[in-house]
């Protein structure tokens, strides 16, 4: 069963997976484009090089987000188009079907992460690093993979939720924004949405993986 779900899901996701894999593979290599033999380089040149490599690495969380967003949406696209009638008429418990869809999507979300890990490894090997500077290809790839999976899981849950669930989610967001407007009108210095975002993006919030500094090379 899972194999067939995987085959069917691949048909809708293959283009996105291909493009995202290419992008994820290219970024770490771009980071070392201006690299070379830094072993004997002066502090200033190493600093410049680190700044350049860092700039490229800051795109990685966005790519991870894109991976999760696109694959999370595409996972359900076929069932959404048929208003879930086919899926619901199949003789499997709903939880099992959802798990299979999630598993297939998560597996595809791993491919760009793996590509990123591979190219990070290659990038690391191409640079002769000066003393005190270290490469973190495995850590970066792991972070990329976890960030993609987290976004994928959130989008998967929202896209696959019942209409009632989606209405509740939108209502909660709408209520938070309305409260912010009311606070603003009454001069209260408090924002519900800002607090919620801080909770989500600061450790141990689920989106904290996406924030902070992403670096392939660091001290």
């Amino acid at each position: 069963m899972f194999k067939q779900v995987l085959v069917a899901q691949w048909q809708t996701s293959k283009l996105a997976v291909g493009l995202l894999t290419l992008l994820s593979f290219c970024l770490p290599l771009l980071a070392v484009l201006y690299g070379g033999d830094l072993a004997g380089a002066g502090r200033e040149r190493v600093g410049d090089w680190l700044v350049a490599a860092d700039r490229v690495a800051q795109f990685l969380p966005f790519v991870a987000m894109l991976v999760g967003l696109l694959l999370g949406t595409l996972t359900w696209s076929a069932d959404l188009a048929g208003r879930h009638v086919y899926a619901l008429s199949l003789p499997v418990p709903r939880a099992l079907y959802v798990s299979m869809r999630f598993g297939a999507g998560a597996l595809f979300a791993t491919i760009p992460g793996a590509a990123m890990g591979l190219s990070s490894g290659i990038a690391t090997l191409t640079v002769a690093l000066p003393p005190g500077i270290h490469a973190y290809p495995v850590e970066l790839a792991l972070r990329f993979w976890l960030a993609s999976l987290t976004v994928f899981a959130i989008i998967f849950a929202i896209a696959g939720a019942s209409r009632r669930g989606q209405v509740i989610t939108i209502s909660v967001i709408g209520a938070a924004v309305t409260l912010d407007v009311v606070f603003l009108l009454f001069g209260v210095d408090y924002s519900v949405t800002a607090e919620a975002l801080l909770l989500l993006t600061n450790w141990p919030g689920p989106l904290s993986l996406l924030t902070g500094r992403w670096a392939l090379f660091d001290v």
Partner: protein, 298 residues
């Protein structure tokens, strides 16, 4: 062995203002070919979706193949072939991929029979579903549900929009399958003449209410239009069921169900004169039944 393949008791569902399914109590005998008739918007698709657990009822109970919905849904669905009103298969798959996908979910899927049907229906395995014609898509749906070897087939307007040749192919494949075993078929349609040919029971749904449920022969033979002179204005107990009455310039037209020739005496007893008795075909009977259900008779 269970007596009824489908049994609902006072089923209620109200998706919103404007439509309500009220107290629908269906009984589909095991082995029957049950025609589920009703005009567009009567609630046939909603009832079918409730039977298969795609919607949750707000009242009443549902039993399919002797099991309760929704508690034993996976087992029910494993023994049920369902063709929905609108095609729902994944359009990006090929015919062969669709068969493999569908078959993987059914333990008793008959791969050899699926291949036989595919050849019989002249469907190319490598053809993408998005490129199939409406007729080919209809055939693929029939192929998939028949290869499941189901105990129950639930077909929601399976021939709607198909040309006569494809419609005949689809219906004969269904009838062939039925003649092989003891499958029960619930077939919903508004094409009355189509059901007349194949069904042995019919249920008529109108505006969310089940207005009749009876064997086909009783429906076809017992429904008459009677032209009357001096028809009584008030009706007490009648030996037949008055479906509708209509005043014309000269006389009254009654449509009755459960008619027997000896019942002419009843009219003589109430001082009415029977001028003409006309047999109605299923389509006319269906229309009159709906008219009767929508207007009070006395």
């Amino acid at each position: 062995m269970i007596a009824h393949a489908i049994e609902t008791h006072e089923l209620c569902y109200r998706p919103g203002p404007g439509f309500e399914l009220r107290d629908v109590s269906l009984k589909v005998r095991q082995g029957a070919i049950y025609g589920f008739l009703g005009p567009n918007g009567a609630g046939k698709t909603t009832t079918i979706q409730l039977l298969l657990g795609l919607l949750r009822p707000q009242g009443g109970s549902i039993s399919v193949l002797g099991r309760q919905v929704p508690r034993e849904l996976p087992r029910i669905l494993g023994a049920t072939g369902y063709i929905p009103e609108r095609p729902h298969l994944y359009p990006f798959l090929t015919v062969a991929q669709s068969i493999r996908f569908h078959g993987a979910f059914y333990r008793g899927f008959d791969w050899a029979y699926a291949e036989e049907l595919r050849r019989g229906f002249d469907l190319r395995g490598e053809a993408k579903l998005a490129r199939l014609s409406k007729g080919e898509m209809g055939k693929l749906h029939v192929l998939l549900v028949l290869a499941q070897r189901p105990e129950l087939l639930v077909l929601d307007e399976p021939t709607d929009g198909l040309d006569p040749v494809v419609r005949r192919d689809v219906l004969s494949a269904l009838l062939d399958f039925c003649s092989q075993g003891a499958a029960t078929i619930l077939i919903s349609s508004h094409l009355v003449h189509e059901l007349e040919r194949i069904c042995d029971w019919i249920g008529v749904l109108d505006r969310g209410r089940l207005v009749a449920e009876l064997p086909m022969h009783a429906f076809k033979n017992g429904i008459k239009r009677i032209r009357l002179d001096h028809a009584p204005s008030l009706i007490g107990d009648t030996p037949f069921l008055l479906v509708s009455r209509q005043q014309t310039a000269l006389d009254q037209l009654w449509v009755v169900r459960g008619w027997q020739p000896t019942m002419v005496q009843w009219f003589q007893g109430v001082g009415a004169e029977v001028k003409e008795i006309v047999d109605l075909d299923l389509e006319e009977g269906f229309v009159e039944m709906l008219r009767g259900a929508r207007t009070p008779t006395s």
